[in-house]
Amino acid sequence: MSSPTLYGLCGAVLVGLGLFGLIVHPQPLRKIVAFNLIGGGVFLLFGVVARRGAAAGFGGDPVPQALVITGLVVAFAATALAVALLLRLFHETGRATLRSDG
Amino acid sequence: MADFLLAAAGFVLAMVALGLVRILRGPGDADRIMAAQLLGTGGIAALLLLVEAMSVPAAVDVALILALLAAFVSVAFVKGAARTEADGA
């Protein structure tokens, strides 16, 4: 097995782990962290595709690499928005929970 | 030479990974910050060794950014810890 494949498998496991955290954790902040783990895994899969496409003297295919850079910045913007929504919820209700009842 | 540097990078990473056990055990936030600090320094050291082993000199900038941002995150840590205590914990 080559190293890119190894990191690809690592990315696949990361997506599963993050998804698990996203479903199971009741605290919204933990869900945000878990969502970022999923993101890390997906980006790693892109990285493997990029590394395998090494050609023409480049260490990797620059197109998926550029997509990952775009993705990282957008993921950050989404995280910041999610955190702001969460803090607003906390200031409105004094609690930070997604439960609709009590 | 490249093999030696790669091995050294692996060794340093393994060491800081052990240091991570301190994050697991805590008990206080101070210990967690210390372990994160060790991980930051070790990560930077491993990265520098890696850069030289793989001869990608441009990646030294990654270490430079990590060093800057590690300082930034540390200050956020300390600020956060100070604020939580001020809240009357």
């Binding site: - | 030479m1 030696f4 540097l5 050294a8 060794f11 340093v12 060491m15 800081v16 052990l18 240091g19 056990v21 301190r22 206080g28 101070a30 210990d31 910050i33 210390m34 372990a35 600090q37 060790l38 930051g40 320094t41 070790g42 930077i44 050291a45 520098l48 060794l49 030289e52 000199p57 030294v60 900038d61 270490a63 430079l64 060093a67 800057l68 590690a70 300082a71 540390s74 200050v75 840590f77 300390v78 810890a81 100070a82 205590e85």
Partner: protein, 97 residues
């Protein structure tokens, strides 16, 4: 000449790696926060410092060397700041900042 430099690199990097080992052991084994802090700063300053020193023998050109040294200085600054503040919080009766 190159062989001599390689030997210097290996020596310095090994010494640096040793300080990381020592720092980790200290972090895990020392009884209280201040002792652990002492162990940590050794790993931080000397471990990274020696590794940077070792790598300096390998790089080409003053600019690359300058970058390596700045990485070390930045880490020192961050480490000094944070350890100072941790020490204040960890000391009995100490106040943060």
């Amino acid at each position: 000449m190159s062989l001599g430099l390689d030997v210097l690199t290996i020596l310095a990097v090994c010494a640096g790696a040793f300080f990381f080992l020592a720092g980790t052991v200290g972090l895990l084994r020392f009884p209280d926060a201040l002792c652990r802090l002492h162990a940590l700063t050794k790993a931080d300053n000397l471990g990274l410092g020696l590794i940077v020193l070792g790598l300096l023998f390998q790089v080409e050109g003053p600019f690359a060397a300058l970058k390596l040294i700045s990485v070390w200085l930045l880490t020192l600054l961050a480490g000094a700041t944070v350890t100072q503040l941790i020490a204040r919080t960890a000391r009995p009766g100490g106040t943060p900042e």
